[in-house]
């Protein structure tokens, strides 16, 4: 075999292996094998950090001139639009599921609760980052008033933005109780000292600062505490998770 022939067969083998990669990506079992990477990341990350390890906070000088809106920027939902008309005066945030005292909060009630302001960096799964100043009510405050049941393992955020054109398939996300009680996990109602704009998730959106942008659910209307999210929508804990993205978005 000549050198050229050998190189050519190595090249051919490479092309064949890559075609094999695409075939593997299309199977149901192989992506599950790859998920071992996600589990390893989550496990190692939790070994390296404490439950309340804080995301970096920035100064006003670091603020992005305009905070980018990604995904939905105007929910195609008549009920949501009706609520937006009067500044979300009749909007309610329902908190239920595995809680002792299910409640519905008005925007005014949320605004009157203890608040936290933080300048943090938003990292999109696509690769870009933007820095914004958020003010909101810590999720731990809400949890304290609804009194979660000991069985609650996840907080599921149900949203008002439909992800399909026919106005169905609403966005949703979920986080575990460690993140739910994290000091920087807030329901933000202000961005850069102004009322949270509709493109950024009005009236309230989640900030869960140690995770990627898709975890930061916008247009929240209900928080449901559950012991498993298998029965919700596609069963993977979020709209993007149902579309192949990792539930653990810390990387």
């Amino acid at each position: 075999m000549s050198r050229r022939k050998l190189l050519r067969s190595i090249g051919g083998l490479g092309a064949l292996l890559l075609a094999g990669c695409d075939r593997l990506s299309g199977t149901t079992w192989f992506p599950k094998v790859l998920e071992a990477g996600e589990r390893a990341s989550q496990g190692v990350h939790h070994l390296l950090t404490s439950r309340k390890s804080m995301a970096q906070e920035f100064t006003e000088a670091d603020l992005s001139p305009q905070f980018r809106s990604n995904g939905t920027s105007a929910p195609n939902n008549p009920q949501y639009r009706a609520l937006a008309v009067d500044g979300f005066a009749s909007w309610r945030l329902k908190v239920d599921g595995l809680v002792h005292k299910p409640q519905a909060f008005t925007l005014a009630q949320l605004r009157s609760m203890k608040s936290r302001t933080q300048i943090t960096r938003h990292d999109c799964v696509e690769g870009w980052s933007a820095i914004g100043k958020w003010k909101g009510v810590p999720l731990s405050e809400i949890l304290a008033s609804v009194e979660p049941d000991g069985r609650a393992r996840f907080a599921v955020f149900h949203c008002d933005d439909p992800m399909t054109r026919d106005g169905t398939n609403f966005y949703y996300e979920s986080i575990d109780m460690e993140d739910a009680y994290h000091p920087q996990t807030i329901l933000a109602y202000e961005l850069n000292n102004k009322v949270l704009p509709i493109p950024n998730g009005a009236p309230v959106r989640l900030r869960v600062e140690r995770q990627l942008g898709y975890k930061h659910a916008k247009y929240i209307n209900r928080i449901e505490l559950v012991d498993s999210f298998r029965h919700i929508a596609g069963g993977n804990g979020g709209y993007w998770e149902d579309n192949g993205y990792q539930w653990y978005a810390g990387i």
Partner: protein
């Protein structure tokens, strides 16, 4: 490492024999690395395609333009073209970057799909590949470092001696003339080779891992602000991209040197361990 000749064959003028050059762990870890780094590079390019722009600083939106940006735009005469902007200067890169043909169809994509894993647009799947093989690569790297130190592979075979370091100039000249050590001298790595391996193993590879970690929002919280040693998260992303291409450049040179200094011999020695040494008469 066994230094005894394995077999000796007598030819008319020159003697040649097989020398046991690469131990089993080195060979196994080398090929695991080939697979892991190839898949990391190609899935990395697909991840880049999701937002084909690089920035300097803590965020992407600082008021300053992107350092590098690959896009597709309409050119009145030519229809769609692929463009690459580097520090604001625009280059037409149609055919490769920004717009490329795949299966006979023009595609508006930053890096062409023949260079990505998967070979179609899927950020979710590319991330699964990337993080799985990142752990394979990290585990392999840790095993390699422990092995190299424990077996003295590092001190015996990789760290150049002072005498060798004095010969760097001569070695550069030899490399440029494609002259390679023969006979007994070819048992050892040459000094440039040693320096290149050490730079890759102990500088570039750890750096690319660290830069990867710098992009993880969760790992950012290990010590808030540590990412600023790289100039911020977006700078880290830019550097991760640059170091990946430096590794690619190393691989190109490495494979080139393998080809010009005896493709069969090197392949055999990295597969079976045995390297044929021709004694200079």
């Amino acid at each position: 490492m066994a230094a005894e000749p394995y077999t000796a064959t007598q030819s008319s003028q020159k003697r040649s024999y097989l020398y046991y050059r690469h131990t089993v762990p080195v060979r196994v870890m080398h090929w695991i690395n080939v697979i892991a780094l190839t898949l990391l590079m190609m899935s990395g390019l697909m991840i880049f395609n999701a937002h084909p722009a690089l920035y300097w600083g803590k965020s992407s939106y600082t008021g300053r333009p992107a350092v590098l940006q690959i896009s597709t735009r309409d050119a009145e005469s030519a229809g769609q073209i692929g463009v690459t902007r580097v520090f604001g200067r625009e280059f037409d890169t149609t055919g490769v970057l920004g717009l490329s043909e795949f299966n006979g169809e023009p595609q508006a994509v930053a890096f062409p799909h023949w260079a990505t894993v998967p070979g179609y647009y899927s950020l979710a799947m590319a991330r699964q590949w990337h993080f799985f093989f990142a752990w394979v690569f990290v585990a392999n790297g840790i095993a390699y470092v422990i092995y190299s130190i424990a077996s003295r592979h590092l001190t015996r075979n990789l760290v150049p001696t002072t005498a060798e370091l004095r010969g760097v100039g001569a070695s550069i000249k030899d490399h440029l003339r494609f002259r390679h050590p023969t006979g007994e001298a070819s048992r050892r790595y040459n000094v440039l080779q040693k320096l290149a391996y050490i730079a890759v193993i102990f500088v570039l590879l750890p750096l690319v891992i660290l830069l990867g970690w710098a992009m993880s929002p969760w790992l950012n919280s290990v010590l808030p602000g540590w990412v600023d040693i790289f100039g911020g998260r977006q700078s880290a992303r830019t550097l991760h991209f640059i170091v990946a291409w430096l590794l690619f450049a190393f691989v190109l040179i490495h494979v080139f040197e393998v080809i010009v200094s005896g493709l069969f011999n090197h392949l055999r020695s990295m597969i079976t361990g045995y390297f044929k040494i021709k004694e200079s008469a």
